[in-house]
């Protein structure tokens, strides 16, 4: 498994954990309030810091397991896979953001718009790493 594929697994796992943490917290807050909770800056900051810290730890660990490949630059196959995954991710982000905007036009709930847009960003990133793993496993 190449460094880039391992990196995709690490980032996928980190982003999934982050998304679960974020939406679990928002769901609990919303349940307590009886309506969709507003975006809370400390929660967003905590999410971003957790993602950064966990991804650094993950990459250090995979670099330690095979130091010779840790500084692996992207070759032609990596670039093709990154390009396809990025394209897929862009489609997911677009669908998510448009869904959020559509929802806003229906009920003018800015909190809902924020969470859907933020969620779309998470899903797009998860989709990007899932697509990378798919292409590394199944071929290009």
């Amino acid at each position: 498994m190449s460094f880039h594929e391992k990196s995709a697994w690490v980032m996928g796992a980190v982003l999934l954990a982050g998304a679960i943490f974020y939406f679990k917290t928002v769901t609990e807050m919303s349940a307590a309030m009886g309506e969709i909770a507003p975006p809370v800056l400390p929660l967003v900051v905590a999410y971003i810091i957790a993602i950064i810290v966990l991804s650094i730890i993950g990459h250090v660990l995979i670099a330690i397991t095979k130091p010779s490949e840790a500084d692996d630059t992207m070759d032609e196959r990596d670039r093709i896979i990154a390009s396809r995954a990025g394209s897929f991710s862009g489609v997911l982000l677009g669908i998510g953001v448009l869904s959020g905007l559509g929802g806003y036009l229906m009920n003018y709930d800015g909190n809902q718009l924020f969470h859907i847009a933020f969620g779309a960003m998470m899903i797009a990133s998860l989709g990007e790493y899932a697509s990378k793993i798919w292409h590394y496993r199944r071929g290009v």
Binding site: S2, E76, V140
Partner: protein
């Protein structure tokens, strides 16, 4: 996902005939990672034309001596 082209190759055979060259050494010689060489040998990746030429020149054979088109697959 697009259907993979029916491209075959003799990279593994030529590499082994070339003094048991390692996948890492071949990768380094043509500018790709060892994992990409593995993917090429397993038919999971068709290299760029540039890499295909680099491989054939490295082994001192023609392009069609390394890569082929599976006739029965169309």
């Amino acid at each position: 996902m697009a259907k993979r082209p029916p491209i075959t190759n003799r990279v593994k055979e030529l590499r082994e005939a070339h003094g048991q060259m390692s996948q890492a050494a071949l990768g380094e010689a043509i500018g790709v990672t060892r994992q990409t060489v593995i993917a090429i040998e397993q038919g999971r990746y068709s290299p760029s034309l540039e890499s295909a030429f680099r491989i054939s020149r490295l082994f001192g054979v023609g392009l069609e001596d390394v890569f082929g088109w599976a006739e029965d697959a169309g």
